[in-house]
């Protein structure tokens, strides 16, 4: 078992005191970020990314930096559950399904049980996904070593088609958002010809749009504006979490092992596909409701109804890092920001990373195990502390968050223009949310735009402009075919529905 050996090496890297300290700091910050309105995993990591620039330049620093940032991600995943259960406010889209049973449980006075089961199942979900990453990612990476530009482009195509095919909203809006991301990514100097594109002789546009600014604006400012619109007042239930409640809940949890296994499987499968965490949590909830003996009582405050979405969301959130590490294709906005971090630190995510930087990769994977254990300890012990932060009035917390966003946007390039840009993206994010335009495809396209375009151009160069290259061998043909199927899925499913409707009418 070569993987076990590599993993042990990774533990040796991750187990230093400095890295353990970073894990605690990262997870605590992450939970804080997950709890606060307007700060989520994606823009929390984006804001803190510039602070790691100097850290990453020291020897072994890149590993410490990714440990810090990924632990913020785990923390934010944990934190989302706190607001869902205590305040009925999902901190992240994938915690929406947690509110269905989590909040009723809290209202019944069983907030402690709801929180404990949410955290524990998050941990279980993440653990399953990390084990999957440990054993599957080296295989995928080895396989992907044979990929050329056409294969990579088809993988990008699959990523983006998945957004169109799997989104709940309008596929047209997904396409517009995604293509806008690509267009923004193209702004600036063209890497191949050196020509200026879409700059319109505006000097500030020469360096192009940075996705970090877009993430901070869209997810941060946009979220604040949406929250303020409701004239926000938090009305939450008190959180009491002591050892007795934790142990009692733990005694109850093994009963739902079937739900856990199912949800973890759903989560892992959906997480590898981009944008998968949110549908995964809903799917797992729906499945649990259908399969459980007391499915009828779901929504009135069943522990099982918390276990299912939380396990799936965390499994999905964690396995979103699998394609990011092995193929350089992030599965979620936060994974996209982490990928951007790797690029800034001078690391090329993708199959070669496993060969060239084994210390980094296995250090990161080992830190996922440790980080989630640390996360579980932190959230179980500090819930009252984090919940009390939500009791700080919004008129204090909102300006402080906006200041943090402004500082975060400024530090990316030390440019005040970026702060203005952040505000523009903030308004855009507000309108996007109100009109149901998805934001994740825009961010992913902005991050991957240049790489996707390069892969496309190189494939075209190789084939002298013949699109047939994307079907030239069974591998690339299968991926391209799958992407096209996903891309046209909304259209196909509608046709099927129409056809069925006709049949139904004829029979009736």
């Amino acid at each position: 078992m070569q993987e076990i050996q590599s993993l042990m090496g990774g533990f040796a890297v991750a187990m230093s005191w400095f890295n353990l300290m970073l894990m605690f700091a990262g997870v605590s910050l992450g939970v804080l970020i997950g709890v606060l309105p307007g700060l989520g995993g994606a823009n929390g990591v984006a804001i803190l990314l510039p602070l790691t620039f100097s850290m990453a330049q020291q020897p072994g620093g890149a590993t410490s930096a990714i440990i810090l940032l990924s632990c913020i991600y785990w923390g934010a995943l944990f934190g989302g559950a706190i607001t869902s259960i205590l305040f009925n406010i999902p901190g992240e889209p994938w915690s929406v399904a947690t509110t269905f049973d989590g909040y009723p449980l809290a209202q019944k006075g069983r907030a402690g049980a709801a929180l404990t089961s949410a955290f524990t199942s998050s941990f279980v979900g993440a653990l399953v996904a990390v084990i999957l990453i440990t054993f599957i990612s080296p295989i995928i990476a080895r396989f992907a070593l044979r990929f050329g530009p056409p294969e990579f482009f088809s993988v990008y195509l699959l990523t983006f088609s998945a957004f169109v095919g799997m989104s709940k909203g309008s596929p047209l809006k997904t396409i517009v958002a995604m293509m806008t991301g690509f267009a923004l990514a193209a702004v600036g100097i063209d890497t191949v010809t050196g020509q200026l594109r879409l700059t319109f002789e505006i000097q500030q546009l020469l360096k192009g749009f940075d996705f970090l600014i877009a993430v901070i604006g869209l997810f941060g400012i946009g979220e604040i504006l949406l929250t303020i619109e409701e004239g926000l007042e938090f009305r939450g239930t008190k959180a009491k979490l002591n050892l007795r409640v934790v142990l009692e809940t733990w005694k109850e949890l093994p009963r739902y092992w079937k739900t856990s296994v199912r949800s973890a499987a759903v989560g892992c499968m959906m997480g590898i596909v981009p944008g998968g965490a949110t549908p995964a949590s809903f799917m797992a909830y729906g499945l649990a409701k259908k399969m459980s003996r007391d499915g009828e009582e779901f929504g009135t405050g069943k522990v099982e109804g918390v276990v299912a979405p939380e396990t799936a969301a965390h499994a999905a959130g964690t396995s979103a890092l699998l394609p990011m590490l092995t193929l350089g294709v992030p599965g979620s906005p936060t994974a996209a920001v982490l990928l951007g971090g790797l690029l800034i630190w001078g690391l090329q995510p993708g199959p070669l990373l496993f060969l060239e930087k084994p210390d980094f990769v296995w250090g990161l994977i080992a830190s996922m195990y440790l980080g989630n254990i640390v996360g579980l300890i932190v959230v179980l012990t500090c819930v009252p502390l984090f919940a009390s932060i939500l009791r700080i009035p919004f008129s204090i917390i909102a300006p402080v968050i906006l200041v943090i966003c402004a500082i975060g946007a400024y530090t990316v390039h030390n440019s005040i223009f970026d702060v203005w840009l952040m505000l523009v993206f903030g308004v855009l994010g507000y309108v996007f949310k109100k009109l149901d335009y998805p934001m994740a495809p825009l961010v992913l396209a902005l991050v991957l735009g240049d790489r996707a375009e390069d892969a496309f151009r190189q494939s075209m160069l190789g084939s002298q402009g013949d699109l047939g290259i994307f079907f030239s061998n069974p591998l690339v043909g299968t991926i391209t075919g799958a992407s096209l199927l996903l891309l046209f899925w909304p259209l196909l499913s509608r046709l099927v529905a129409i056809a069925r409707g006709r049949n139904g009418n004829a029979a009736g």
Binding site: G231, I396, L402, Y410, T411, K434
Partner: protein, 169 residues
Amino acid sequence: MDDRKAVASVRVAELVMAGIFLAFGALVMWDTRRLGASWGDDGPQAGYFPFYIGLFIVASSAMIIFKALNLGDKGRAAFVEWGQLRMVLLVMAPTVVYVALIANPWYGLGIYVASAIYIAFFMWYLGKYSWPRILPVSLGVAVFFFLMFEIWFKVPLPKGPVEALFGYT
């Protein structure tokens, strides 16, 4: 003005947003004419990829416009109500002033002083706090960020005359 009154309907908002995207896509396509969007001597020209991106944006937003025109009752729902828009503007306007205060060609205050003023204004105007509560919070946050960025992380942020008094420029 009635707070519950709609400023714009969903239909209008959909049309405006899709119109903006349509114009944006057209702009992208127009720029690729300059760059060349066809096949050059040595491969695809610089505008090759963006041309299709622009085309996709134009086509999709045109279809969104078409759908928005046929929204029916759903389109008549309020996109934003007066009360909501006022809250949003109450946050956006001071934030714009805040960013302008940080750095401008005439007299930049630096990010720390501007942040203190911004937080103080927010608490005073929206939170209706008294000054003994406002001052410790706003100054405390600014000082905390100063220590964190300038001293611990050594990430320089825009500074103004007040920091210069203490010898930080």
